[in-house]
């Protein structure tokens, strides 16, 4: 991209000016369409319209009114099936980057709604472009940010775009409410249900199925019944999940797994099914709404007030869609409530608030950094015995990985810390530790002199006061209160003198650390790292840039064996700026 940009920018120099003598302005183009129902060629249509206007020189502009607009292929940003209200738009961010880097002098957009359907987003783009001297031209609107008089029009057009989007959303909700009240499907359905079209509609000249009726999926609803009856009979949620995996039943998310995920039923999947009231026939729509955190851009869900709920049957009840009988449902809900209460009261109250962990800090130096060598899933604490035991989550949580043996947490940590010890055996690293320690200590002693000055000043003040008191007593007019005050002053004076002597001796004799001493204290260093997981964990995560894999090496003729930790470790500091750190592979036994 940079090479192309250089070429374009060089065209603006007089030597590269075309025969007509007009300067060439390199332009970027921002394209967007929102719905997959719109033609997927929509971006191409927008681009060809903009190109033809640019070639005919009919695009309204102010700053570059007499210049020739040239569109660079590397500066065309497409947002396909992206909502104009979305805050996460890679194409818009790419355009902003090019504006900041001054790669383009003008940005062409078909109309304001293609830039954004939020007035805030539109105006922030306009302000950014203004600051970096880039003119934004809205081709169909005949508006340009180069013309100050157009600012009010841009605000109005942005308001219209946002309002029309709101109205469109209201129409969609009204349409969906009618569908919901008729008990028709609105899209995603819980596990155990499917839908079938009851009508066809003509859209853009094509016959498409519509008005999908929700029906019970025979096989999957049997699984739902199995889950409810097993839980009601006393089986745990995790045990139910393992049983389903052992029987080879595909989990609800099995068909759309992200890359590298193993899938399978988990305790959480089972828990969410057991809490879903739709299985007992209660179908209500719009019980929650999605909101976006304006600070982080993250989505969250909030409960809607009851008057906004839409019943999908009489009082929200659809008998035909009931999978579980009322009695089983009651038993299951009572058990969930009891189990939750037991769990909350059984745990240490100092570590919990409202039944949840108070802190999100990891407890151990390798938390979240270990993977199973067999299936690639996380290695997590599955046992609390002997300081905790790590095991494969797929094996212990879902029963889908054959590697079931656990390994003591302390053994894995000791093995990894031995690798850290290896890094610390390098002379340069040990010297660096000693130098850093001494620099910190010198800093401490240096700041001690400030403290020393303060104490000396305080001592002088106390001394003057004590002298005055002594003179006063010598005159023979002192009361017992004055004598008491003199005693206090003398005590304070003595304490201050002691502090001064201590600090002065520390300044004279700083105990600096040598490389030899650091090497001798290596065992202590490892224990210190182990004892401070909150600070050690992020540093170790960088030192071991890839997750550590635990391989089970079976003993000969046995079903069990020993674990080996495999990974890469960064062994030396960065060289020149831009160099990547040198990483060395390792494999050590955890015992």
């Amino acid at each position: 991209m940079s090479g192309e940009t250089t070429k374009l920018n060089s065209q603006t120099t007089p030597s590269s000016q075309p025969a007509d003598g007009r300067a060439v302005i390199s332009c970027g183009v921002l394209l967007r369409f929102s719905s997959l129902n719109q033609s997927t060629e929509s971006c191409d249509t927008q681009l060809s319209r903009i190109r033809s206007e640019a070639e005919r020189d009919t695009i309204y502009r102010c700053t570059h009114a007499n210049d020739r607009l040239v569109i660079s292929d590397t500066h065309v940003w497409r947002g396909e099936a992206v909502s104009g209200r979305s805050q996460d738009r890679p194409e818009l961010e790419a355009a902003k980057r090019a504006i900041r880097a001054k790669e383009i002098q003008a940005l062409l957009v078909l109309d304001t709604s293609r830039a954004a359907r939020r007035i805030k987003t539109l105006m922030s783009l306009v302000e950014l472009a203004d600051f970096y001297g880039c003119e934004v031209c809205f081709v169909l609107d005949r508006l340009s940010t180069g013309n100050p008089a157009h600012r009010k029009m841009l605000l109005m057009k942005g308001l219209i775009d946002e309002t029309s989007n709101d109205m469109h959303a209201e129409r969609t909700v009204a349409y969906m409410t009618a569908r919901a009240e008729a008990g028709l499907s609105l899209g995603s359905l819980p596990y155990g249900y499917t839908s079938e079209a009851t009508q066809t509609e003509t859209r853009k000249g094509r016959e498409v199925p519509s008005h999908f009726k929700i029906i019970i999926h025979a096989e999957r609803s049997a699984i739902v019944r199995r889950i409810f009856s097993e839980y009601a009979s006393g089986l745990g949620q995790g045990r139910i999940a393992k049983g389903l995996n052992q029987d080879g039943i595909p989990s609800p998310g099995q068909s759309h797994l992200r890359d590298g995920r193993v899938g399978g039923w988990s305790q959480r999947t089972v828990a969410s099914i057991l809490k879903n009231a739709r299985y007992v026939g209660l179908w209500r729509w719009r019980m929650t709404k999605a909101v976006t955190n304006p600070d982080t851009g993250q989505r969250a869900f909030r409960a809607r007030p009851q008057h906004e709920h839409v019943d999908m049957g009489p009082n929200g009840f659809i008998e035909d869609l009931r999978v579980v009988d009322g009695q089983t449902w009651e038993v299951v809900q009572r058990r969930i409530e009891e189990t939750t209460r037991k769990r909350v009261t059984a745990t240490d109250p100092s570590t919990r608030i409202f039944g949840q962990r108070k802190t999100s800090e990891a407890d151990h130096i390798l938390s979240g950094r270990l993977r199973c060598g067999g299936c690639g899933s996380n290695f997590v604490l599955v046992s609390g015995a002997h300081g905790g035991g790590y095991g494969c989550f797929q094996s212990h949580g879902k029963g889908t990985c054959p590697i079931h043996q656990t390994v003591q947490r302390v053994r894995v940590e000791a093995a990894v810390l031995q690798v850290v010890r290896g890094v610390l055996e390098d002379d340069a690293v040990v010297r660096a530790v000693a130098d850093r320690y001494n620099a910190l200590l010198r800093n401490q002693i240096g700041s001690g002199s400030v403290e020393l000055d303060r104490l000396r000043h305080e001592r002088d003040k106390q001394q003057t006061q004590a002298h005055r008191l002594v003179d006063y007593i010598a005159e023979g007019t002192a009361s017992p209160t004055v004598r008491e005050r003199l005693e206090q002053a003398e005590a304070q004076l003595s304490e201050l003198s002691q502090k001064i002597v201590r600090l002065e001796s520390a300044r004279r004799d700083p105990l600096l650390l040598t490389s030899y001493a650091v090497r001798r204290r290596l065992g202590e260093v490892l224990a210190l790292l182990e004892g401070d997981p909150v600070r050690a964990r992020p540093v170790l995560a960088k030192l071991f840039p890839e997750p550590l894999r635990l391989h089970l090496v079976l003993s000969e003729g046995k079903r069990w064996g020993t674990y080996e930790v495999e990974g890469v470790v960064v062994v030396q500091a960065n060289g020149e700026a831009g160099d990547s750190p040198v990483a060395k592979p390792f494999r050590v036994r955890a015992r």
Binding site: V429, A432, R436, P538, V539, K542, L543, V570, N574
Partner: protein, 57 residues
């Protein structure tokens, strides 16, 4: 653990993202060692003071 005053002197315990992983490890170890030494020093000082006051009594 270091006292509030010592923490202030030692500065932030966070590490810079510009440093290499080994530099960050070096910094953390130096801080942990110094904090330990200061804590031991402080403990011994208090112990000495307690002994002195016992002797005085």
């Amino acid at each position: 653990m270091a006292s509030e005053h010592e923490e202030c002197i030692l500065g932030s315990t966070g590490t810079s993202t510009k440093e290499s992983p080994v530099d960050q490890l070096v910094d953390l170890i130096a801080r942990l060692l110094l904090e330990r030494d200061l804590a031991v020093n402080e403990y011994e000082r208090r112990d000495d003071e307690a002994e002195q006051s016992d002797d005085a009594e």
